[in-house]
Subunit: 351 residues, 2 copies
DNA sequence: CTGTTAGCGCCTTCAC
DNA sequence: GTGAAGGCGCTAACAG
């Protein structure tokens, strides 16, 4: 780490001077295009060596300015607090890096002002693409991007200002509903014991999940109970409250529960913790999204897992296909349990 | 959103031409320094208006080149899969934004090659500072930064290549150990039932926690059992295995358990799920780090929470104080339960 | 009050 | 094979 000029980053001029060559030669060598220009290998090596010694490091600001390519890929999401968004972020980073881009992901806390200002900031940094995840209404942000000539893709929730990649919630919901019905029947309960709890009415994901839920019931010619679907909101407290009410009315829990989010499941667990132990075994549970703790709780729970790798891959494909008028909606299927081996490979010092 | 020149981002030249003024006037107006230069308010308004219509957006690459200030703040961390790192990322983003910087955080999956290449990338993007979180040996990265004249701060785990901000693990450990002992005694058990499980011997955080554990025992003149500390590793499977062995040897669980990480706690929960229900109530548990699911499991668990806001604030203070030879080690105290009101304020559509 | 100009560091063409 | 020069978009003197 022998920086001859500590504190000041070195430039190609420094290298040119120390090696006694010209800036263009240095530039070519550093870009790997030197072979095409028949530059002496010896010269090239000398320059490379010198660059290392000086701790040289391209100035992407200058290169980007010249080439009008920043090398930055942006993504905004609400937060990192669940495995879905955390996984999206991680996968995005990996795939961006593998394309030679520097990932830059920002959490907005669902604050509309932050969303706009972050988008503007990323645009000023001249990101080459922007993925917008989990926004109910991404259109204003899409428009900002379009105006700046930057491609944006909506993830998780669709919008009409850009192409969107979302989980196939309806199909997934039907699949898990089907599975829960099987389990209920196997336990000798009625299928119409199943309750879909959580989420917000008229919100895209919730509506799709409700539709899938009904699909599965109808496929078996089962009439859903009046109150089989309850959109009590996504958060834990609301789900806990809703369950409490049902418990008091019914004198017990429903035998089958499909929770509309990991946070709703959190609320359910909080409620279960207040009940006698055998309550845990009395109920068959399903959940959209996955969490490592929840997966091992002492009750029968099945978690629907989103395919973050698939989502990100589709999104990159969309930006790479290049049609700026594209507004297609790509559906990515879900799965159960672990989806990627490596994802769970915790390193020795992971905690 | 009327971009007169869709697809091409507009520049100050475009604005200068359309408003019939000069680039410097435009520049000053856009930077808000126009009052100082006594530019007519009317002109200013015309320019501002035009900028809006053109969907103008500063090119930070060019501005950065000129001012040699990128407006970027970097942070690297192993992953986002637990609440500590997720919170660090979120807090970093908030605080960076409030300082007018654009946060750019990258997860490295603890891959040393990725760590180096990400650092180099961030350095080429000319980030103005770099926070390095959760690395066992951050020194090589610190050196890269120093060579480039960029200030770096180590977070969570210390290093000798830069100042470090870490949680006061020893004090925290002593506090929670003390609390668990109280609980054990209240239940009529011996204090030497307490076991510290998980982590890696000779690793900084683990060693500090062991020291704190012993501090608390010694303060009460209790001799720790031979096998009171078991560094079985951080991951869930290892913790589960270690507990299984103890269970078989003892015929029951130890009455008190202090788990060295959220992942180790995960392993414990997995093991508990295999036991009869009353096992959950038989044990008093503590854990370093916090998780929303774990916090509401049906057993007596106390979670030590790290002060992510404090850590990030100290880190920014360190870079702002400016002494590049500073190698100080700042300790940030821990707390129990919720530490910030707002942190748990889930928005309506959060899931 | 406003316009002109000289770079910031880099890449690319075009001479030599 | 190598050097000189122009310009990416912006800012800060410095002239008018």
């Amino acid at each position: 780490m022998a920086s001859s000029n500590p504190g000041r980053k070195s430039t190609i001029y420094d290298i040119a001077k120390t090696t006694g060559s010209s800036t263009s030669t240095v530039s070519m060598v550093l870009n790997g295009t030197w072979a095409r220009y028949r530059i002496k290998e010896e010269t090239a090596n000398r320059i490379l060596e010198c660059a290392r010694e000086l701790g040289y490091n391209v100035n992407m600001k200058a290169r980007g300015l010249r080439l009008s390519r920043s090398g930055l890929a942006g993504m905004i999401l609400p937060h990192y607090r669940n495995r879905f968004f955390a996984g999206l972020a991680q996968t995005f980073e990996d795939q961006a890096r593998s394309r030679g881009l520097c990932p830059i992901v920002v959490g907005t806390q669902r604050d509309p002002e932050v969303e706009v200002s972050v988008t503007e900031t990323l645009l000023s940094q001249r990101v080459e693409l922007l993925f917008i995840a989990g926004l109910r209404n991404p259109t204003p942000l899409n428009e900002l991007c379009t105006a700046a000539g930057i491609r944006s893709i909506n993830l998780d929730l669709p919008g009409d200002g850009a192409p969107s990649v979302v989980t196939d919630n309806r199909k997934g919901s039907a699949t898990i509903t089907e599975l829960l019905i099987e389990k209920l029947l196997a336990r000798g309960h009625d299928a119409d014991e199943l309750v879909l709890l959580g989420g917000v009415a008229n919100e895209y994901a919730t509506e799709m999940r409700i539709a899938g839920f009904r699909d599965a019931l109808e496929a078996r010619h089962i009439t859903a109970a009046e109150d089989a679907v309850e959109c009590c909101g996504y958060n834990a407290a609301a789900a806990k409250r809703a369950l409490t009410v049902r418990y008091e009315k019914l004198g017990r829990l429903p035998f089958g529960l499909l929770m509309n989010s990991i946070t709703a499941l959190e609320g359910m667990v909080q409620f279960m913790a207040t009940l006698p132990h055998d309550a845990w075994k009395s109920v068959v549970v399903g959940c959209f999204d996955w969490d490592p703790f929840a997966a091992y709780l002492p009750f029968d729970v099945t978690m629907l897992r989103q395919d973050v790798q698939g989502i990100i891959a589709e999104a990159f494909a969309l930006v790479e296909n290049g049609d700026p008028t594209d507004r297609s909606l790509v559906m990515v299927p879900t799965g159960f349990g672990k989806m990627y081996e490596e994802e769970e490979q915790t390193k020795e010092f992971d905690r």
